[in-house]
């Protein structure tokens, strides 16, 4: 009896143990491992190596890729999420199901599919030539534009989901109340709908920005490995060159930069919220 009394309230804790162990083993231990690895020579030499203009440029370039991918995804995803959450009616579940499908195929397969589409002898060029619109095949693959197309393609679903779940909880009567008080559709969107879905926008933005910042497969395969990105540098030093302490050091540097950027975005979004809620556009 006493044992039962002692044990029962602790059940949630015991059920939580596997997840806890998992997190410690695969997040915190590797983190410590990386930290140790980066200073294994006993000096900060491996860090110092990266404080050059070239690596600064790599970070800026990666940030630019991540931020612009996240921004384009947001612009594309918001109307879709809005429409599915508030207008789709009985089609809602079917559309959500369609959103799931991309997750069923391997990420690399998506990229290879795009390579076939944009290749010199790919689908787009074949069709355009067949239609007689172009004589020479277009140079599509290995351009900045192609990298963005595939990045946005791969990451948009990650943006739609959190925005959708934020808008799903939106009370439609607030829309009516706003219109009733004289607001136009755009004013309602700006003053009511966007501020109330801001948590969803924020998590979607982070969900895209973080992996897009570290992305190295798409720039390598689609972009033709012409320029280095942060993810590429990390993978190069850790996998190829057997200089893992440099890889670890650069991982720590990029993580710190990313954390700073995320904090900055968070503060900006709060300022935006204050701006929208207190006063006019």
């Amino acid at each position: 009896m006493n044992i039962k009394k002692l044990f029962l309230p602790q059940i949630p804790f015991f059920l939580g143990i596997p997840a806890l162990v998992w997190q410690v083993l695969f997040v915190y231990v590797p983190l410590v491992f990386i930290l140790v690895l980066s200073v294994q020579s006993g000096t900060f030499e491996s860090f110092r190596a990266f404080f050059t203009a070239e690596y600064g440029l790599v970070l800026v370039r990666s940030l630019f890729l991540g931020l612009s991918t996240a921004t384009i995804c947001l612009i594309l995803a918001y109307p879709v999420a809005y429409w599915i959450a508030l207008c789709a009616g009985r089609w809602k579940n079917f559309l959500l199901f369609l959103l799931f499908i991309p997750f069923w195929t391997n990420f690399l397969l998506h990229i290879y599919a795009w390579m076939f589409i944009m290749d010199r002898n790919g689908v787009i060029n074949t069709v355009l030539q067949w239609l007689g619109l172009i004589q020479e095949p277009l140079h599509l693959l290995h351009t900045t534009a192609s990298v963005f197309v595939v990045m946005v393609y791969c990451y948009t679903p990650f943006m739609i989901w959190p925005i959708y779940s934020a808008l799903e909880k939106f009370d439609v009567r607030l829309h009516e109340a706003s219109s009733d008080l004289g607001a136009t559709w755009w004013q309602t969107l700006w003053h009511i709908v966007i501020p109330l879905s801001l948590p969803g926008i924020r998590s979607g933005f982070f969900l895209v920005l973080v992996p897009a910042f570290g992305e190295f497969v798409i720039p390598e395969l689609i972009g033709g490995d012409k320029v280095m990105f942060a993810g590429g540098v990390v993978s190069y030093y850790t996998l190829h060159a057997k200089t893992s302490s440099f890889g670890a050091a650069f991982t720590i540097i990029t993580s710190c930069v990313l954390c700073l950027v995320l904090c900055l975005i968070y503060l900006l979004s709060r300022r935006f919220m204050r701006h929208v809620t207190h006063g006019k556009v």
Partner: protein, 365 residues
Amino acid sequence: MKSVELRGVTKRLHGEVILENINLVIPSGKFFALLGPSGCGKTTLLRLIGGFELVNEGQIFIGDRDITHLPSNQRSVNTVFQNYALFPHLSVFDNIAYSLNVRNVDKSVVRKRVGKIAEAFSIDRHLYKEIGQLSGGQQQRVAIARAVINEPDVLLLDEPLAALDSKLRERLLVELSDVQEMLQTTFVYVTHDPFEALTVADQVAIMNNDGDIEQMGTPREIYEFPVSSFAARFVGTTNILKGTFGVREAGFGVDVPDVCFFLVDQAGALVPNAREGLQAFVSIRPEKITISRRLLEGVGAPKLTGRVANKVYYGHSTMYQVQVNDGIALRVFEQNEEHVRQEEIDYDDQVYLYWLDKNVVVLER
């Protein structure tokens, strides 16, 4: 302050007819209540006036302006929603200021007007609170202040008290009619609660389950002279008896077999096509009947005798169910005027029932 007029309005939703050929004039500057059972279409009617739904047929006028095809943000009509629909991310101040802010009114003007209206609604102490920090009554005041700050011609109220407990509801009803008096705006108040409609409204329209307007009039007219058994039953309690029109020595009236002959006062509202032998319904309210164990003097002969089958004590009054024959029982209210009653009426007592002929109402259907 303008009137609202609906001409031949029909509304279908998902192929189902909600409202059919509604003709209704809501007088300007009055507190108008639209009373009906839940699901009868009264909220749809309100949404048509507010512009949240568009009519399939017919026209809607505010004053003499046709607003049938105007979107809701261009109608000079504001709404107090059920559960208020206050913006949860805005402070009380910004909620009230919303309609001014979207019209780009100057900031200093906004501050002045919000301050003024907040004072009038005694919510000036809460202006910088979050919506979630307010009580139900305060939220309602914010919702009304937000809706009237732009001085609309018509204010629509969609069951604004449904979510509150009965004590608070009674207090807010009084407050609402004060607000209407102060603003002189046309109020259209939708409710399923006859008590709310009778206490606040100047004019009441009763809507039946088919979405038709059953009767319109002042609360007193509705209560004292219902035209149909639906209206009589929906507003208050009553006794409805079925009989046929007939003429006796005493005059014209309704003969209810095995009960009695209800003499109908000619001055009262009478069914226009009443003919002898035609089916008719009469209604007499429980409080209009006097009940006694002894024969009373000076009021004529008792109308009926019966046996007390049931008795419910309400405090201020007592309700008796008096069996007048095998099938029919009449409900009788008696005001409890004394602490200790001189004449205690109990189960199975033989009682005499009295009423005045003018208090009997003939119903159209």
